[in-house]
């Protein structure tokens, strides 16, 4: 199988914000991701001799494993900080200095950091491509890449879709990034389902309005489900709360069960960035519309495509 033509414009670039890339550049990423899904063996040596550093200053299981699996499957190698508590940051080294040092060892850096804007700062100092693996509550662009690729693969298009976001829309960074990214596609409509305390921030609502897109806010999932092409569930994240009482009060605000899903169209998909806590009942896993574990797998392929593009190895 021939490897598809890729967007050269991504070579050497950083990926800090989901909107750093144009829709055309995303198309190139999707196209190569699909090629990897179809013929993974074609890509097993494409990154031979390349080294990726993963710097996770905040706990992560799946994002880090997904990146590392992606690089290893491409034939590249990975170095990483085993434990942020014992890393240079714990000794007081600045992010800027850490990045400049690590860039001397690796061809590509993936960084997750608890502070908002950390990746933007790191990119200013990194001479090699830097991928934001999540910076506080702000951005998680490769989750957005994963989500867009999952929707495109499952529904065949990113245009004219009604997307229902449910759960923590205030602190959920995957939601913010995905809403911004979907706002660039034709005819997107949003339903925003959350308790009042966890509503989408006003600035983001202004952005959606500014794009001339439709959205409805509601506290009732039932109002939104019959319209959905995509139901995007999120976890209420304990680490984003200053106050444990607020967390306990809101964590079970919305739980999706098989019974509730009878209102969802047959052709719709149910997504979740994972990890799930209790917001989707395990009985839903058997529903063929539930794509969240498939979504996690597609995330690895999407990251493989991203690495190939940024390193310019095809």
């Amino acid at each position: 199988m021939a490897i598809p033509k890729v967007a050269r414009s991504l070579y050497g670039r950083h990926f800090v914000d989901a909107l750093d890339f144009t829709c055309e550049e995303y198309e190139s990423l999707f196209s190569l991701s699909s090629a990897v899904v179809r013929s993974p063996l074609e890509f097993t040596a494409i990154c031979r001799g390349k080294l990726m550093a993963t710097l996770f200053f905040e706990p992560s299981t799946r994002t880090r494993l997904s990146f590392e699996a992606a690089m290893v499957r491409l034939g590249g190698q990975v170095i990483s900080v085993a434990d942020p508590q014992t890393s240079s940051a714990a000794k007081g080294e600045s992010v800027a200095d850490t990045i400049r040092t690590v860039a001397g060892y690796a061809d590509l850096i993936v960084m997750r950091h608890p502070k908002e804007g950390a990746a933007k700062l790191a990119a200013l100092y990194s001479p090699v491509p830097l991928i934001n693996g999540g910076d506080g509550a702000r951005e998680h662009p490769t989750q957005t890449l994963t989500d867009l690729f999952t929707i495109k693969s499952s529904l065949g298009t990113l245009d004219e879709l009604t997307v229902v976001f449910c759960g923590d829309l205030r602190y959920g960074r995957t939601v913010h990034s995905l809403i911004r990214a979907l706002s660039r596609y034709r005819g997107t409509r949003f339903f925003l389902v959350s308790p009042e305390e966890l509503r989408l921030p006003g600035t983001l609502k202004e952005e959606i309005r500014g794009q001339g897109l439709e959205f409805q806010e509601t506290e009732r999932l039932e109002d939104a489900l019959p319209h959905a092409h995509v139901l995007y569930m999120t976890r209420v994240q304990k680490e984003r709360f200053f106050n444990e009482e607020d967390y306990l009060r809101l964590k079970d605000a919305y739980v999706v069960t098989a019974e509730r899903l009878s209102a969802l169209n047959d052709g719709a998909i149910i997504m979740h960035p994972l990890p799930r806590v209790s917001e989707i009942a395990t009985e839903v896993d058997e529903d063929r519309r539930a794509v969240y574990f498939h979504q996690a797998r597609l995330g690895m392929y999407a990251r493989m495509s991203l690495i190939v593009h940024l390193l310019g190895v095809v």
Binding site: S94, K115, E116, G117, L121, G136, R138
Partner: protein, 140 residues
């Protein structure tokens, strides 16, 4: 009527909103520069009713970004040989480096010494700026 002599070389900050002059004087550190400086407050003005003015003798360069932020309606008159050589209305600056602090405790600038704090203007009517790093908005 109180009179202050015209200066030969220097800068006159005119049309300062009444009551703002002292803050501008302090933010520019004019008390420590050694220049001859006159701060006039509540001067009658046909345009503003009352205004503040600052005359600085000898200096020909000031941080216009800072002035625009403190009072975008200000006039900066450059005086050479006793004449107004150049008149600038700084307005609200598009970019502000290092003057505004990000109030978001989760922002990287709260812990990173190398981060050059940078804000960009997002809504001039509301004097609203946005942190380059975390996106937090502040009104100045």
């Amino acid at each position: 009527m109180l009179r202050v002599d015209a200066i030969q070389e220097g800068i006159v900050l005119d049309h300062i909103r009444a009551g703002t002059g002292l803050r501008i004087f302090e933010e520019l550190g004019l008390g420590k520069t050694g220049y001859t400086v006159a701060l006039l407050m509540n001067v009658p003005s046909t345009k503003l009713g009352r205004k503040d003015m600052i005359k600085i003798s000898g200096v020909l360069d000031l941080d216009l970004t800072l002035l625009g932020l403190l009072d975008p309606g200000i006039s900066v008159n450059h005086i050479e040989n006793g004449q107004v050589n150049k008149k600038i209305n700084p307005g609200l600056p598009e970019r502000v480096e290092g003057f505004i602090r990000c109030k978001n405790p989760r922002c990287i600038t709260s812990i990173e010494p190398s981060a050059q704090v940078l804000f960009t203007l997002v809504r001039a009517a509301a004097k609203e700026y946005q942190c380059f790093y975390c996106g937090e908005r502040v009104r100045v």
